[in-house]
């Protein structure tokens, strides 16, 4: 019902504001057909209904030639590059994958008016810029993590007292990673209840590790692009994971968890604190899907030992290929899918927008809903500390080399230092092979 | 008119020759049996006639038409297989009518001919059954019925009775003979059982190792075997055959014992010739218990110890030791004998055969 209402609202807004840009954007492209590869998945689909409107407004036509999740889309794009068959115009893109194929997309600043690009949150534009080229325009699918927690735990007098007795501090949602670990251990009662959890494999663990290295004052790659995560800060960051695992404050299966396991774990009410993505906010508070509905608190991500908060972030967006025959039309479509109306449409369902105006609108909309306001405020705060993955084409490959080492340390096969040294050696090798060092 | 004529018919698999250029003429409406041990090439020959095997050389004529390269269906033949090869997914009626259906015969004709064949073979009650619901004998009859329905120039039988028990086999043998009398087609019948061949055929073709050893009427091949092989193959129990050397007026066996040289061979052999001496069990018998009265001109008597006896009721096969080997004799009007008894044996040398030890050919004039 909620969704329906917001859809109607978005539709109304669209009617109102559509006139403003009609002069230059979206433009007229009768007879032009744009082949597009789009990310598939229910939550992304709503936006694609707007494609029909673009077609009506411009006379162009959009032909969706692929719809898959980003991992498969990545595979597909790589196959296309390899077989020299990039015959399409518009592709879904993601800040984590984009650095792998900088060459195939055009610089959107050349095709779109400056004021349109300035309307985005600058950090998001920076994340989509590779070597000075704006390769993607972000849609309202911006991701940075914030802390979800079960409110009731912090209101329980017995727990408060026990915590105070044990640690001499008041029990409150954690502000630092150290506090978070301490509380996680305090709340944990395996196998029925866990203090926290983390995604334990692939880019997920590597990304979290990356985030914490920064928060602890370290660097992942130094300014020369050399792996630098086997520093003191790195060891401290990794130890955080190792100690939680050792203390059984996280589920034993956590090293095999990905995001979906985390979300479902928290929704099952068996996890106290969860550092997670904005996409889950609605899910966690929906009694149909979550046992903790009504009991969810959200807070900005904790500080590291350096006092810095850090937000490893990602954003979905759309890019236009160099091979595209009608780049103006393609750019117009990309703009259309990321313009204010589109972002409002998407943001209404929960995800974070990337346009400044839409943030404001979003907060305004949430006024009557305290939970949503809390969520948005927390994430807006979190977004201030956001940064994308290092923009090197080898990032994914490095990630694949590093994460098994992180897992080895967490599971106790290696010490943190040893694991990081091994990982750094592998990463260095990869960069050398690629001719980057 | 269905004369079958094979000329220099040869079959090779790669470099191996299975049938070595055989010649054979089969007269119209003749019943001819191809007989021989397994691997002698008789089935291959039949299958070449049927068109199921390519021929490697020579010609095959059926009804004065060369059919070398014609497919089976164009040869106007029918064949009864050892396994019967009934189509398991069709009823008896469908099996019988199958060839007509393929030929596109009208329904009335099909029904008529199936009914005819079924009447001849007594299959009326079985027409709607499937082969799996039939007994061995019934299947055999269906297989023959299927062959009859086609009204072929030539019937080919490939060991049709070998899957039946002894009693049924005898019975079916008679039926085949009757059938031939009725349908009057040319029949080529392959069997490894010489009794079948003898009882059924007008002429018998005895094959060995891809060669024809002898062609003749049952009487001819029995009485005048052309080779040692034929002599040993035809007749039950088989002919006693022993290697021997011709000496002055006698044949001396390996063990040193000897028999007089049969009179009719006196002019055919020389002293020192290596020969094979053959005498059928019917021509060795205890005095007074033989086919013949025993007073023929060329009879030789020896007293021999009995080793084994096989009583068959009306006769007893007596195995007696001579020259350290067992010789089989057929004793008519049997008298009780037991192992170890010594008995006087008549050797009817007028019926004896001599074959060249070297070529195996009969030394008879």
């Amino acid at each position: 019902m909620n969704r329906l209402l917001s859809g109607v609202a978005a539709g109304a807004l669209l009617m109102a504001s559509g006139v403003a840009f009609a002069a230059d954007l979206p433009g007229k492209f009768p007879g032009v057909t744009i082949d597009a590869k789009l990310i598939g998945g229910q939550q992304y689909e709503k936006l694609y209904e707007r494609i029909g409107e673009w077609e009506k407004a411009t006379g162009g036509k959009v032909n969706v030639i692929s719809k898959k999740n980003h991992f498969d889309l990545d595979k597909e794009i790589k196959s296309d590059i390899a077989s020299n068959s990039i015959t399409w115009c518009v592709g879904s893109n993601h800040t984590s994958f984009a650095p792998q194929y900088p060459g195939i997309y055009i610089d959107l600043t050349k095709l779109l008016p400056k004021e349109e690009i300035d309307a985005f949150v600058p950090a998001n534009i920076a994340a989509g810029t590779l070597d000075g080229k704006l390769v993607m325009l972000p849609r309202a699918q911006f991701d940075v993590s914030a802390l979800y927690y079960q409110k009731s735990l912090y209101q329980d007098e017995a727990k408060k007292k026990a915590y105070k007795d044990k640690y001499g501090e008041d029990l409150a949602p954690p502000d630092t990673f150290d506090e978070m670990a301490q509380q996680a251990e305090f709340f944990a009662s395996p196998p029925d209840f866990y203090g926290t959890q983390f995604a334990g494999k692939e880019e997920a663990i590597n990304g979290r590790f990356y985030e914490m290295v920064i928060a602890d004052g370290g660097e992942y790659l130094d300014k020369d692009g050399k792996p630098a995560f086997n520093s003191e800060a790195g060891v401290k960051a990794l130890d955080w994971f190792v100690n939680l695992y050792k203390a059984k404050a996280v589920p034993a299966g956590t090293t095999n968890y990905l995001w979906d396991d985390l979300g479902q774990g928290f929704a099952s009410g068996t996890v106290a604190i969860n550092l997670d993505w904005p996409g889950w906010a609605g899910f966690f508070n929906d009694p149909k899907s979550s046992k903790v509905a009504g009991n969810v608190g959200v807070k900005v991500q904790p500080k590291g030992s350096s006092g810095k908060r850090s937000g490893w972030s990602g954003a979905h967006g759309f890019s236009v290929t160099e091979n595209c025959a009608n780049k103006e039309a393609a750019a117009s479509l990309v703009w259309w899918l990321t313009n204010e109306d589109s972002q409002k449409l998407e943001a209404a369902a929960g995800p974070l927008p990337t346009r400044t105006k839409v943030w404001e609108w979003d907060l305004e909309q949430a006024k009557s809903d305290p939970y949503k306001t809390e969520v948005l405020q927390a994430f807006q705060e979190a977004a201030k500390n956001a940064f994308p993955v290092p923009q090197t084409p080898e990032w994914i490959e490095i990630s694949n080399a590093v994460y098994p080492e992180l897992q080895a340390a967490i599971l106790g096969d290696k010490t943190s230092k040893q694991a990081l040294d091994d990982a750094a050696a592998k990463a260095t090798q990869i960069l050398e092979d690629a001719g980057k060092l | 008119m269905a004369i079958v004529s094979l000329k220099k018919l040869t079959k090779r698999y790669g470099s191996m020759e299975i049938v070595h250029g055989i010649d054979l003429d089969v007269a119209d409406r003749e019943f001819i049996a191809l007989v021989g041990p397994s691997g002698c090439g008789k089935s291959t020959t039949l299958r070449m006639i049927a068109g199921l095997e390519d021929i490697s050389g020579g010609t095959i004529e059926i009804g004065e038409r060369i059919v070398n390269d014609l497919p089976p269906r164009s040869r106007n033949i029918s064949m009864v297989f050892q396994s019967y090869a009934l189509y398991p997914h069709m009823t008896v009626r469908e099996n019988l009518g199958f060839s007509l259906k393929i030929a596109g015969a009208p329904k009335e004709e099909m029904d008529r001919r199936v009914a005819e064949a079924s009447a001849i073979l007594g299959l009326d009650a079985l027409l709607e059954r499937r082969p799996s619901q039939l007994s061995g004998g019934q299947r055999q009859r269906v297989a023959m019925g299927r062959a009859i329905v086609r009204d072929p120039d030539v019937f080919l039988f490939d060991e049709p009775l070998s899957n039946l028990d002894a009693k049924l086999r005898t019975q079916m043998r008679t039926e085949i003979k009757k059938l031939h009398a009725k349908v009057k087609s040319t029949v080529i019948y392959v069997t490894h059982d010489q009794v079948e061949a003898m009882t059924l055929a007008d002429r018998i073709v005895i094959m060995r190792d891809g060669y024809i050893e002898q062609v003749g009427t049952p009487d001819e091949v029995f009485q005048r075997p052309a080779t040692r092989f034929v002599a040993g193959f035809i007749g039950s129990p088989p002919m006693n055959l022993q290697e021997a050397t011709v000496a002055d007026g006698k044949v001396v066996f390996a063990g040193g014992q000897s028999l007089p040289l049969p009179i009719r061979f006196k002019a055919k052999v020389n002293v020192g010739d290596k020969v094979v001496f053959g005498l059928r069990p019917d021509d060795i018998y205890p005095a007074g218990h033989g086919l013949h009265s025993g007073d023929a001109a060329d009879v030789h008597d020896v007293e021999l110890p009995v080793t084994v006896t096989e009583p068959l009721g009306n006769e007893t096969l007596v195995f007696a030791e001579f020259d350290r080997r067992d010789w089989v004799s057929r004793m008519l009007n049997p008298k009780p004998l037991k192992a170890g008894d010594r008995v006087a044996m008549h050797f009817d040398l007028s019926q004896a055969h001599l074959f060249s030890a070297e070529t195996g050919k009969s030394l008879r004039a």
């Binding site: 719809k67 099952s268 996409g279 | 269906r73």
Partner: protein, 288 residues
């Protein structure tokens, strides 16, 4: 008397043991399936409950309704996927069977040089893992411009299934006595007629079982399909399963519902032909 009594007892014990064993085995086989069906009917909160809720409290068809309710409303283009899967699986099965019949017949009925080497060679093409094949195949397909088409996937599945169908069908033709085809030829059939009138009907159940194997392989294949399909033009159900996974989430209930939709046709088909399937694999003694 004593011996008889104890033997009887033993036999009864064996019967009971057999029943229990059978029940446990069937339970083990069915449990994951039952669990999937249940999961598709229960709200996520119940599936993931801790402590577990064993007896379903709220059962609904919401997931199925959502699945069919169209893009943007929690739905996926399941009808398109279903249609693609059906077209691709059926066509590739029919083709694989046709080609397999030709090849199997050649192996069963003809002698030719290098036969066993040829046979092994054909079989070994099947050993190439899909994951090793997917990219080079993609290259070839990209050149031929048959990516994301039914034809492309059908071709791939035919190749995937042909070695196996040749092998099975070869075996079935061997079991049909050569005599029968020969008898048919003497009865006036051409070789072609003899094949269709006699050998084919007899090998029929066997061919049906080869067909089932081929169909299930195509119906369930993922590795190649995920590489060679891209959009609703050709995406099949197994690839469609991934629509329920996104960057951060898996809609387990929806996935289970789609899984049920996927399994039911295969289940019905197998139930119908299972008699032929086992019978086809056994059809041994044609001759009585």
């Amino acid at each position: 008397m004593d011996a008889n009594a104890s033997a009887r007892l033993k036999r009864r014990a064996a019967t009971i043991a057999h029943r229990v064993g059978l029940f446990l085995a069937m339970l083990f086989i069915c449990l994951p399936g039952i669990w999937i069906v249940l999961s598709s009917l229960r709200p996520t909160v119940e599936i993931l409950a801790k402590p577990p809720i064993w007896i379903p409290q709220q059962v609904s068809l919401d997931a199925y309704v959502a699945m069919f309710s169209g893009v943007g409303k929690g739905g996926i283009p399941v009808l398109d996927y279903f249609r693609n899967s059906l077209i691709i699986s059926v066509t590739s099965t029919v083709l694989a069977i046709a080609i397999g019949m030709a090849g199997g017949y050649a192996f069963a009925r003809y002698r030719f040089r290098g036969k066993s080497a040829m046979f092994l060679g054909l079989m070994l093409t099947r050993t190439v893992p899909g994951i090793a094949l997917s990219l080079p195949l993609f290259f070839v397909y990209a050149r031929l411009d048959i990516i994301d088409t039914h034809f492309g996937l059908i071709l791939a599945y035919v190749a995937l299934n042909v070695p196996f169908t040749i092998w099975l069908i070869d075996g079935f033709f061997r079991q049909v006595p050569k005599d029968l085809a020969e008898a048919a030829q003497i009865d006036g059939c051409t070789r072609w007629q003899a094949f269709w009138q006699v050998e084919f009907p007899l090998a029929g159940p066997g061919i049906a079982s080869a067909g089932i194997f081929a169909f299930l392989t195509s119906w369930n294949e993922f590795a190649l399909a995920s590489q060679l399909t891209r959009s609703i033009n050709s995406k099949t159900l197994p690839v469609g399963l991934l629509d329920y996974t996104a960057e951060f989430t898996i809609d387990w209930r929806g996935m289970c519902a789609l899984a049920v939709v996927m399994i039911i046709p295969a289940l019905i088909l197998t139930f119908i032909v299972q008699k032929h399937l086992v019978g086809g694999l056994t059809s041994g003694a044609v001759k009585g």
